[in-house]
Amino acid sequence: MEDGALDIELEDPISRPRVSANKRRKIIGLDDLLTDFYKEQSKHLEKQSKREKPQKSFDSDDDDDTAQNSKEALLSQYVVECQQKMEEISSDDDISSWGMQVFGDQKTPPPLKFPELQSCSLLNSFQKNELNSLVELSLEKGEGFLEGLLINGWLLKLALTCGHVEQSIATWTFYSMNEGLRSSACEFWCAILASNNKVDQTAIRIDWLPSFAELKRALETYGFLLDSTSNVLSNVEPSHADSDTEGPPQNIRAWIKFVAAACQARSKTTMFSTVEVEELVGFLICFFLDRVFQGLSVQLHHSMVSALNYFTDEEWCLSCERISNLLSSRVPKDLNCLRILECISGPNARCKQFRSAVAYQLIITCLDGKVTDTEDILKSLISINVKDKSCDLFKTYICLVLAENWLLFGSLLEEKPYIEEMWNLCLRNCSCQITSTDLRLYASKVRNKASYLLQEK
């Protein structure tokens, strides 16, 4: 190991022209390929025409045209071939992108009946009120009336002014998030939980709180594929779906917001254990991998940050490690694992630490768990011979980005200078040992990434 590292060090000064920003090319453009190809072809043509020339002298003048025509035909044939080749190359280049199927078929939700709603004291106490001559409220139509109260925001105002949410109302509103009332019901819950979170305010008494099991069950009916039976996600398959039940229902938006509100409310209303919140973080990060959620990234991000901030500082150390382990066992080692790192993008210290920790776990599993400590990881990265034709550049690229995240978001580089040296060596290997004309897939990606990181220093 030591020797290998030394070898490269020796080689270094020669093979390391300082890459300057304007000289650097991002990728070899198709235009470049085309010009190269044309140059080659024109040389070829020239040779051919030279060879043809002696024959030509025997021909009559009229044949000049035909010769010209055949030349043109040949050229156009080359152009077509060239185009085909370029298409091949570009379709090869159309490398996989991230995306997982996180939600499958929705299940039919259990029918919701709320018989206890008729006995709720909110409606019952009003029956005796002489104002009922104006309101004309009957218990049979109680649920419809409550829906109006919920949608028009009165129920929330009542909860906030009276400081109490009775059990039947709490369960009804929670399960209504599955139905047409979801956005009102979600707003109601988020508002009462947020109100309880305010300092110097008497908390609203909520007689029933949903548990983690309830939230998990909801996900299962939405078709979440990461249930107790399967713990690994599958890559997204070409959609065969023509049903409305494929993919998560719209309720998932309410679910995401509810999780955020519930996690933020910890100081006054504790609903989950730390292990459960670890699970929730795991779920939320998996959502990021489903392209269906692209448009919800603001909400997802908010939820994830709320869940991360749920932990106390003491809990966090252990939980951070456990979530990272959980994720590294679930996420395939391809572009998806880079995607989740991009999603952990908060600027606060905890997010950065988390991102670094997840990257660390991922890189360990990427290197097949053979490595155990930081030096080993870097040594095995340095030992990758990118010049070798059989080198898996895709894996190299993944490892490179993982290492970038692990090192730059963590504090290791500042703490241990020799780590930085090893990292630099690894970057120089990748940026200098791959030539700009290397046509292998991911060659330019690895090279560009490494030289960009070197320049950023």
């Binding site: 453009g29 106490s125 009120n129 009165w154 105002k157 909400q299 600027p347």
Partner: protein
Amino acid sequence: MEGPKSKRRRSIRNGIEENTMAILDSSAPNDSQDVTDDGIAFLEAVRSSSLLPEDGTPPSCKMRAEVFQILKDGKSIELIMASYQLLIELDKRFPRVCLTDVNKADSSMGEPLELAVSKEDWVPFAFGTGVGYADRDAADEKAGGPIDSQGFQNLVQDISNMANGRDSQAENIKFLGNMLLFQYLVNILEGDFLPRNKVYEGTMKWTLLRESLINMLLASRRINYKSLMKDCLSTLLALCHLPAGLRTDDLRSENDASIRQNECCNNAVAFALIEIGQDACLALQRLLVMVMELDNSRKTADTHGLITRADGVRTPLVEIIVDELTYDSDMLSKILQVFCDPRWKLDIALQYFSKYAAKPSVHTRRSNGSTDDKTFSGVLKCFSNNTSTKSITKKLNPVVAQLLLAHAFQASISVSLESCDEGISNSKDKAEGSSLMDICKNLISAFRSLRRTDEHMRILPLAREAIFTAATILSTK
């Protein structure tokens, strides 16, 4: 000491700019996936150089303009989301306008605050016709450039049109992009206006507000202020119908469409449309509230003689809204339903009352009478006996009266809850002088006298809910 350090910083910054911009310098611009990948890589690079380090420097104007351009281009859902989030975060981290405490040690109430405006910073707007802007226009021409007042109005109109129907997936993404762009612009306007207004309230320096972006937008001669406000109202209505329309049309028809490979993208768009539509709806309200706050400050400036002819004349927004709503009771109900800010909701309802139900003053004390119908309790008093109630219902359709009462009541509950939160009794409160309990009692008696004037009057569901709420609050306290 300062010189070389900042010079070094700038050169580092230039280096970063060059490297980062190079990411976008793709030679294969036709492949959409490549464009997305390069764009995402660029945004990530900007993020990691500016937001991640503790002492990160803001990205250069060129880089910010490029991020903004990616949002404006709206090429894919991935790109618009990422660029929008990055812009918002950059703004949070490096605000252009911020408050500085004059003496930090004693930041108790009443201390004058000072405004710090960084002049160099990039702004997505170009209002006015100043010479300074001419250069900027030329420089930004290539990158698409900042938005002027006409562009802003066009954006609002586009959102309204697209909310009413879109023909293709590309239009869906464009629609999403427009809504995010609008939200970002409102964010910028707010970040500029709120601190200025705060300082104005303490110092009465009207120039601060005159130079605010929102004021420059409204005062721009390129657009008609009133028509912009009306566009905002109709867009607000169009957006609040979005979820209902989507449930039946987009979600189903997208699934029925023959294009199957875009299934995932379609779903993503359907999800995003509802969520982002709601956010855009809130952003529109924030814009309207901002204009109303500006109107308020302008009024106080006017009483101090600070408004000059250069400031022009402008109808307060509340008046415009009330005028618009008078023609259309359906619109009245929708706007009151969708409008969240309780103070301004109350104000709109009260203005409506005072305009159309202003009764000849019967008060003995003039000082009291002139302000009475400007508060909700004042309005409720008008409904306290049969004769005055009758005289109101002659001018005001009972359905409208019920709507206004119910919404004003709901807004007063929120206002009283808010002032509870703040722990201070704001003397400007519209609900001032009467507790929530009194309001509940008076609301009930108002509905009783309405019923008495017309035995067959149908009580609206919303009004029934309001009475129920008032009665329940009274019985629990």
